[in-house]
Each structure stands twice: as C-alpha cells, then as structure tokens.
Symmetry: C2
C-alpha cells in the first residue's frame, strides 16, 4: 500500500515540477485519503512538496496518526499554515477544482492554479481498487435480488421502506454504506432522474438507482422493473443504447463517441429530447469522478478506467426507464457483476 | 411562504446595494432552496438581482418548475450565463464562501467578493423553521428511546445495526433522512469524536450522536450511555459544562463567552486538553451553520437563533463522553425536546 501511494505522490511531484509549481495544496477528503490513507472526519490539508505534510484538526490527530502514510501536523491556524509555506519559499500552488472560495481567498498571497494532477492518478485504477469495486458491485447486486422488488410491490411497501431495507441488506452483506442516496422511484416519479424515495406505496414501473461502498470504493447500478408493453418498448430502446455503447468501449476511443452512440440510437427512435443527462461517469472513491461519458468530453478511454453506462428515456408525467451498469476497461469494456437486466 | 421568501431576497438586495454589489451569485443547494423553495438534485445557480433567476440543469427543469418561486431558465453553458450577466452590465458579484474554485475561475471577468448575506438571513429562524426543527428533534428523541440502546447492548447488537435500526425507526416516525451519518460508537471508540459505526458488537460506554431531518430541517443530539463510576464522574463534569453553558445563553451575549463557560469548567477539573472541539454550532437546513460557539467566534447571540451545546471529554484509548442538546433562543436559551440526559 505504502509504496503504491508514494508512486502517486511521486507522479504528482513530477507534474508539479514540469508545470513550474512549487507545491500542491489539497483539501478534498478523498484526494487526501487516496494519497495518504487518512480519511478526515472534519477538515484536513495536504501539501504535496518534497516532504509532504498533512495538517490535521485536533479532533483527528488520533485517527490520522494511525492511518496517514505522510507526516502529520496539528492545524493551528491558516496564518501559521501560510507562514510554513512561505518559509519554504513556496509561491505558486496547484489547487483542486473543488477548493472553496473561503480557502482560496486565504491563500491570496500565492499564485493559484487549478490542476487535475490528482484526478489523472485517480482515473486509472489499480488492481486493488478494481477488486474493491467488484466486491462492492457484487454485494449490491446480490442485495437487490434478495430484496425482491416485485414481491415488495405486491405487498404494498412504501418507497422509503424499500430503499431502507435495501440499505440494511447491503450492510448485512458487507457494505459500509450506500455510495449515494438510493433512488427508489415508482410510477410517474420514475421520470425524475433524481427522484427522492417517499412515503408513497410503490406504484409501477419501479426504478432503482443505487450502490454501496466497500473499503471506500463505490458501486453504481440502475434497474427499472417494468410492467406494461409501453414500458417494455421504451426499455428495449434504452437497452439497445446501453448495449451498443458498451460494445463500443475500448482503449483509445473518446468518451464523447460513447455518448454519441447511445444518444444516436435513442434519437433515431424519436426520444432524443427525453434523454436528459450524460451517458455515464467515472467512479471510484467518489461516485462521480472525471471524465464523463458526455457529448462534450474529449478524454480518451484508457485501460483500467471504470465508468458507468446509463442511458435513460424520461416521459414527463408518465414514466422513465434507465439501465445502468459499471464497465471496467481492459482492452474492451467489461461489464462488472452479472445482474440480469430484467428482474 | 412566497412572501416570506421575497423578504429574504429583498434584504439581500438591500445589502448588495449598500455594499456596491451588482448582484449575488449562488450555487449552494440549501441557499437556493431557502430563497426559492427549489432543491437542486444536480447543480443550479441563483442570481440575485432586480429580477432574480435560477439557472437549472435540463434534468431538473420539471422539479424546478413545480417548486421555484423565482423565474427559472435552462442552463446551457457557463459562457452563456456569463454573457447574460454582462448584458445586464453586472460587474461586481457577491459569492458564497463555499463556491468552488472551478466556478470561481469561470467568473474571472467579474470582481468577486465573499459575502455572508445569505447566512445573515438564515441564522435567524422563522416560527415555521423552528417548528420544523422541533418536530425533527422530537422524532429523533422518541426514536432513540424506542431503540432502547441498553437492551441492544445486552442482546449483543453490532454498532452499524443499531445505527441503522435507529434510522429506520426515525423514518417510521416521520423523518425524511438522518441529518448526518449517525455516530454510534462504543468502548474506546467513544474517544473519537467522529467515530464511524463498525461491525463490532457493542462495548461500553456507548455514545450516540445523531439527528434527523423534517421538511429539510435538522436535529442534532448526543447521549452517552455510561456503565462505570469513572464514566459517571467524567459525565458529571460534561453535564455541568453543558448546563452552565445553556444557562448563560441570552440575547446579546457573544458566542465565544458561551464556549468559555463550558471550557473553563472542564479545564478546572483538569480535562481542558481533552475537550478538543467547539462547544456548539448553529443549525437549520444544514447541520453545521454559522456562527459556532467557539473560542474565537465574536458573533452575538440573537433571538430565534438555534444552536447546539455539546461539550465533551475524550480520554484517548479509554473512552469519551459528550452531551449535546439543541437550544433555541427566545430571551434566554430554551432546550428543544425533553430527552433525559441519562438513559
């Protein structure tokens, strides 16, 4: 573990030098976890330089001392952190895209530039990371089958209770937590891509977009339980888009091309305006990582990337269908897990 | 509802004018929800100016059109949003402290300044908001009693299962969701203020820091279930700090004074270094809002603020005790809910 983490820090140090940065300032919990092993519970700042250092809140000193592979120091104040950096003659700092304006302003004395140096490391997964994601997706899939959604619908369960029971089963099967708030939508609410489970008794169709974390790594899957011929017709279009997009995945192809394949199929059937989001997104420690399989993304697919393919068609006021799987890139795209599309 | 929302926007417009801003740019979901009623599921930008407007993702247009009290517009690109602002001759923008560097950089053509204009509105709660928080805290308290932590310990439940069962009971009692990931710590893990529930069978003591949301508004309570004389001794010190801090709360007092009262008591007993966080924090739509009852906070307590008082003593490797209640400020501080300290 330790040695592979140092490889990432070494790569970032090389990029910093090549781009004339003196150091990188990180505040994102998962970036710090990825590079040091320490997951903050309050706030933390990692400075990547010759001797990387993590500034840790008093509250976290015990946990950080046990888990961080980098040197740690108790955070006293922003002024003293800034003084430390100045003492080392640091002038130009690389920062993360999600650094908040509050901290950005406190680093006013430095030249700040957003860099994707950590993302470039995180987007290519190690064997260990892929294996954790496989464990997560297998736990999630097994748990959805155990939940038996059609039986729950027959027994008049409410959306929130199904969503919650699925979370319990995933934990019982070894998951840490959901990767994101489960979407357990039914009836017309399935046309809202990010519907929130309510106290409503399950209507039909039923769309479940969910996942769990295993050792920090996320899974993400969607299945739509269909009940009518119209729903079946829409679902078969979504499935065609899903399958053809996945078949087109290979090293060297642009993300936007994958989006185009899925979008073109849905458009041919006349539902282009009803596919109102991107075809997919990378994931790992975070549920949404870059790049995205979107119309504008010019990133190139590389070996050992992991991302979702999740086309959908949303008929406002009627229903929506989405089918989502995680794909791992070897030479071609390989679907992770083996959950049937129709349950 | 509509009219009270416009009052907040009107107040912000006045502050913008007084401070020579042309508009305010907001991206924080709860700020946008507070001011418009619309809660984003993906991303959204609210521009406060004479005619406020919310830029909404395609995916959210349906939900925004049903819930936003401000005009909505489909977000096309950052460039077109920036063009819209320039057309209205907007040059100086107020921004939120948590705006990300990625967006900050995209607004490079404007003069940007962090402002707390929305926080100033949000820190004073309306009757309606206080009533929602009272409902949330009552649901939470009732649910903790129903869970019966001591019985669960006798039956050898695991931490995660207790935490999850508490979540189920809160939902059954009408909560939407937890206000934050429940801390259900036992044994030596109680000395970590932000411990994560594990698959460990409950040890003693047991510390539960938890809350739920009702119509978006958070509750936040901590109880420590003690089992030994030493734990009782530490707990009595924490309780003294808790009670005296609460008794000192009234309009016009500085937050830092409240922190000092709690901290001085714990320090007198020799445990000052073991109280490793602030005494409390405001809350509302977010679990942590400003101000904080911390040593440095010079904000003045005002009527209709709601915040937590949560002193703790953490003995590394042994155990920790924290007692937390929510306090609502009328003239004096009034504890919300009526959960006994010792359960």
């Amino acid at each position: 573990m330790e040695s592979s983490k140092n490889v990432h820090i070494d790569n970032i140090l090389k990029r910093l030098e090549k781009n004339n940065f003196d150091a990188m300032f990180l505040a994102n919990f998962n970036n710090i976890r990825y590079l040091t092993g320490y997951l903050s519970t309050s706030f933390a700042f990692l400075i990547i330089k010759e001797n990387p250092i993590v500034y840790v809140s008093a509250m976290d000193m015990e946990i950080a001392s046990k888990t961080s592979s980098c040197q740690i120091k108790k955070f006293e104040s922003f002024n003293s952190l800034v003084d430390d950096l100045k003492e080392e003659n640091i002038k130009k700092l690389a920062i993360e895209e999600d650094l908040t304006a509050g901290i950005y302003k406190k680093l006013d004395d430095f030249t700040l530039e957003i860099s994707d140096f950590v993302n470039l490391e995180r987007m290519i997964k190690s064997k260990d990371e892929i294996s954790k994601m496989e464990t997560a997706v297998n736990i999630a899939h097994k748990s959805l089958i155990e939940l038996d959604v059609r039986a729950k619908q027959e027994d008049s369960w409410e959306e929130w209770a199904c969503s919650y029971e699925l979370g319990r089963i995933m934990r019982e099967n070894g998951a840490e937590i959901e990767s994101f708030d489960t979407i357990f939508a039914s009836g017309a609410d399935t046309s809202l891509p990010h519907s929130v489970p309510s106290h409503k008794v399950l209507e039909t169709p039923i769309l479940v977009d969910y996942g769990c974390k295993f050792e920090g790594y996320c899974s993400d899957t969607t299945r739509t339980f269909i009940y009518t011929e119209k729903q079946e017709e829409i679902s078969s279009i979504v499935l065609e888009a899903h399958d053809k997009a996945i078949n087109a995945i290979k090293e060297g192809v642009q993300y936007s091309e994958i989006d185009k394949i899925a979008r073109d199929i849905i458009t041919e059937y006349g539902y282009g305006d009803n596919f109102i989001h991107s075809t997919g997104h990378n994931l790992g420690l975070d549920i949404h990582e870059s790049p995205n399989a979107s119309i504008r993304d010019q990133n190139i697919i590389e070996k050992n990337m992991v991302f979702t393919i999740e086309p959908g068609i949303y008929l406002e006021g009627e229903f929506g269908v989405r089918i989502e799987d995680m794909v791992f890139v070897d030479k071609k795209g390989i679907v992770m897990g083996d959950l049937p599309v129709y349950l």
